[in-house]
Symmetry: C2
Subunit: 455 residues, 2 copies
Amino acid sequence: MRDFLPADVRRREYVIGIIKEVYERYGFEPLETPAVENIETLLGKYGEEGNQLIFKILKRGEHERTGEADLALRYDLTVPLARVVAEYGERLPKFFKRYQIQPVWRADRPARGRFREFYQCDVDAIGSRSIVVEAELCAAASEALKKLGFTNFTIRLNHRQVLAGVLDAAGIVTERHADALVALDKLDKIGPEGVAKEFSERGIKEESGARLLSFFEGLSALEHAAQLVDIEGEGRGSEKDAVNAAILGRLVEFVGDNEAGARGIDELRSVVKLSAAYGADMRIKIDPSLARGLSYYTGAIMEISVPDLAGSLGGGGRYDNLVGMFSGKDVPACGFSLGLERIIVVMTERGMFPENLSDAPADVMVTIWSEETISDSLALAGELRRKNLRVDLYPEADKLGKQFKYASARGIRFVAVIGEEERQNRQVALKNMSTGEQVTLTADAVVDAVRQHLK
Amino acid sequence: MRDFLPADVRRREYVIGIIKEVYERYGFEPLETPAVENIETLLGKYGEEGNQLIFKILKRGEHERTGEADLALRYDLTVPLARVVAEYGERLPKFFKRYQIQPVWRADRPARGRFREFYQCDVDAIGSRSIVVEAELCAAASEALKKLGFTNFTIRLNHRQVLAGVLDAAGIVTERHADALVALDKLDKIGPEGVAKEFSERGIKEESGARLLSFFEGLSALEHAAQLVDIEGEGRGSEKDAVNAAILGRLVEFVGDNEAGARGIDELRSVVKLSAAYGADMRIKIDPSLARGLSYYTGAIMEISVPDLAGSLGGGGRYDNLVGMFSGKDVPACGFSLGLERIIVVMTERGMFPENLSDAPADVMVTIWSEETISDSLALAGELRRKNLRVDLYPEADKLGKQFKYASARGIRFVAVIGEEERQNRQVALKNMSTGEQVTLTADAVVDAVRQHLK
């Protein structure tokens, strides 16, 4: 787990601020839940592996000795949302659109870019089955990334029912679906032979595996051809439209009369069509191999990726049954989660933060000339602060050279000095640390001089 | 532990935003530390009762069975700061001024206004023994409260060495100091006879107890007289100055030649004097009975209270030895903590939040006329959002009356409709839900019309 020193916090707040601003514009409202949930709320919601990764908190008092845990640290933001929806019921609007940007904790082995405490930026819409929700979520997440400066991301889009339809159509029995997806997920890494081998190890019939593989290889070929075209036509997106249409066509063919699958394909088509109204359709690439790990998804699923980064910047999907696990009522839901840590890593590596963010801790530093004039320095600091400048005050009477050096080391651009002469004339000597220039001014003029350099 | 629904979050963010803005203007920088610390970092820092109240987290894997805890939830923000200062050493500036606004957790029995998860707003200056630090902290906390709308608070100021000097001078042996303070703390509640009785129960010599009581009763009389004067002269503060001077005089007399005590009195005098440069001196009331619970304070201590509220809105003091417990080095420190939860409770009860805070989740809601026109509604929502309006979109084609009712229930002021006719004319019908007035406009004109009603 990490400490965030001031420069880190500023970067994080910059990113969070933009994401919040965009989500607010889309009509999402902020929600915050406690870091700690009852342990039963969390257990059994994230699969066996998830259970292992939940941080468990000892029950208070007596039970600290027995080792009994009754509380646990929040593992994601989706289950707490489901609990809130069940708990507050009618007090929430019929369509509850909330965003939530808070840390979650997982007792994982730490690795590069992977932490035991990390933030999630979730946005979810509860209460509607309309595909409008999926389109809104794709548009909101896209806009947040665009505002952060990402230009070349893709929203990969798939559908759980379509995925099931494809596997059914290939002849894979439902019990083997999960196995097939795990193997298929490695296609990029281990190639078709490797996947075929893993299929057979996982008890999938050779014939079914082959049919599935050839379907996905066909799609790859199609995309590859389109990419060649796309190099010339970048940004116009009409090729992307054509590819999406072609992929939808192949899916219709392959899935055939599988009813849920066909309905899923219609929904994918609708998401693309509605996203066009936001101009987000050009970002969308239908990717029938996208599976997403979590078991609770029931409809459309999506993931946002950038070309030169393994893994995704975020993902989400429809999960119409999770809230019902808490409320007993049938409550449709769809959500999207941006990975804050990953976004910050990529933005740092690519130098995507605005320059003035790693800024100085203050606009101006006021020095202390001598023990006798401390009150003058404090009064000046107070006056500049009242004019909304960020003012640091060297806390002690000290050699002036040392005070200048300190300001310089901290990257503070202006240093104010009230020496004997300035004091008598009710003036301030203001030194610009980057030019070395020093001028003598009234306090009001100091405010103006410093402000000129704050864009 | 509490969930914060959207209106709660908005109130909290309003308060936090103001506190941050003020602290930044005073040159403090943001720090964030993880919710979870190693258990050894926390144990033994908060006394025996504190140890009991620390939430302990089970060690991962095997140890979940043995009940062994290796991590714990943050109990306050001061100990993590001390750890950070020791851990990052030279990477931090010589004078590290940080603020930190994060939750802490205590396994307390929940009570009214007391929670197991609550936020602290801490501001600390590390690295200087100068009294300037105390003055800056008092000024910063005062300004934050003033900006939040508090007008009638008092900064009670005392000093640990003065307190010790007073107890010494009364003839109370050092081992009984803590007992004497516990009893003395109840003076308001149980009166001088009650305190005298408790003194004797706690093994304090009758003579010493009586001497101490008569000193504090003398101070009370002094203050009472001053309060009578103050009713007429409210706000001018000269009476406060006179009272502070009188109390300092009494302290000098009583403490006599106790060296540490006399130095402490000088420091109190300096804090008041330096605070005058900020205009914060009128807030300060020297209160020799102020003790503050935490054992780590070594110098000035302060607490902010408002007349009609038991307990305080915040408090702090100098703690020159705590950081050394982690770093082995002698690092002076002084800090102040505002109680966010208490501030919010008081502000809510007194109606101190700005009216537009409990605002609607969106500036305008776009309706969906029919399945066929969904894309038009999405496009309009997208356009209004690009113009920086906060726009909610009813997610489904539904009876228009129902959509209006929904917007109204959510307090959204404007509702936009694209019916058949508007669609043909590329216009929008905009209904003002508070006046009932409906006009037909272009999308651009909608932006202007809605903006006119945002202050």
